[in-house]
Symmetry: C2
Subunit: 313 residues, 2 copies
Amino acid sequence: MTETPRQPTPIAIVGVGKIARDQHIPAIAADPRFELAATVSRSGGVDGVENHASVEALLEARPDVEALSLCMPPIPRFNAARAAIAAGRHVMLEKPPGATVAEVLTLDRMSRDANVTLFATWHSRHAAAAGPARDWLAEKRLTGIRVDWKEDVRKWHPGQDWIWRAGGLGVFDPGINALSLLTAICPVPLHLTSATLSVPENRATPIAADLEFSDGEDLTAMAAFDWRQKGGEIWQIEVETDAGTLSLTEGGARMFVDGTERGLEDPGEYPDLYRRFGDLLADGASDVDPLPLIHVADAFMLGRHLTVEPFED
Amino acid sequence: MTETPRQPTPIAIVGVGKIARDQHIPAIAADPRFELAATVSRSGGVDGVENHASVEALLEARPDVEALSLCMPPIPRFNAARAAIAAGRHVMLEKPPGATVAEVLTLDRMSRDANVTLFATWHSRHAAAAGPARDWLAEKRLTGIRVDWKEDVRKWHPGQDWIWRAGGLGVFDPGINALSLLTAICPVPLHLTSATLSVPENRATPIAADLEFSDGEDLTAMAAFDWRQKGGEIWQIEVETDAGTLSLTEGGARMFVDGTERGLEDPGEYPDLYRRFGDLLADGASDVDPLPLIHVADAFMLGRHLTVEPFED
């Protein structure tokens, strides 16, 4: 007896920007469980795929589109997610899952009430080293954590004006990737104890941030996020333990224990995200963890805001 | 058959400042279910009550003290709460329950693991009008909300330097009272959509804040917090509905429907807090709702930070 293969789930991409073109569309194309059925974009969609001007237009025109993957900036995301959930569609959210923590909690509640899948993604949790690092740290005593997440904003966010406006998170847009990975691998809960946010005098969001976390006992985690990096990005987490030092580099693509590299399977972050979304849909489950965004909100609340020199794009 | 009256629970106050003297100590004195057994204060305790220099010293010297009420500023509160929970004591937290949202989640988890009661208090939720307002709004369609929370910081926070330092919350220290009351009475969940925080150029925290919330549909809530108020404080919430206007004034002590005052029972906010804590202890239950603090963190994250004229105490 053979199983009848399930028809691929028709999915729409909402917000056809850099991340959608670089990651989501190739990942969907490679995944037999999904089929890109439509896009929503005001600035042009994808060749050969039906495009709509708004989420509302898509929801009305295409009742067959079971799932929406929301790739637009965080501020307009809530209304799109709300409309999709209200229309009984499953929703996948790019990170961060909202412009506020409260709206993520609201979407979580709405999706439960509507009995649809909500997947608040953190792509860095799907880095090749995430699972192996979590497993390696699980039984060890941690004695120190150092996070460096530094990149050139001109290279990675060219012309993305929204990241510099209030609510755009600034350097926490990449920094939240580090926090999502750290919170996934660290066996003890951490909370922020101090923060300095460096905000260019002509911008509303930080270009750099220095954070200190504690587990309430002896463990301290230091994190430095910086968008002024030149000469190649540094995306790494180093964890000292009683049984050696774990290093994750290249955003978690590579893993070292006491300097020796471990071999890793690497399906790619976004292919693995859609694999996970497919599993959630098959199970009728959701996955919503606002903790990385909570740490960012805590940093804005607890942090000292420092004005630094203007930044011109 | 008569019930044997339960012995009063020995409780300690940690942090003997203005709020402890004005509110907590009289409320405990008036409640037959509690007995003030000790205090922790570096600057002097209460006449006739044993005082300790630190939480650790109290926990070691007085294993009979079953519960601690933590009244110190939010930043040192986590370590005290952690130590108390680790020693198997029940804990009541003044508002806000922490300097960060993450630490509230950590304490919540710790208290569950230790099987002790954790009560993260929001005293404004015990205002006389809180319950009646919630009940009155429950079945109505809300069309607008306006919150004004304005007081003279020199009168209400004399010499409290910590409120002006990073993490001290500034005008959100009183403003969070409004948010705790609003979130308790509003039948629909709200999230912040914009905020302006006015920060004096010589301080780290805002002296005023203007907030806008939405339920994602037609309902908008506007809130104005201001510490520069002269001539009497304004602590009020006005809610327009399809069946009239509800007004709460004096921090929720009084309630009006279309201008007509409703009679209310008023045990007092702090006596009612200790009544609730007594009930939680009797039931072996906890009450931890971080939502008001989440809204504040969201405001710092999403809000525009505006520099305003210096403030001298």
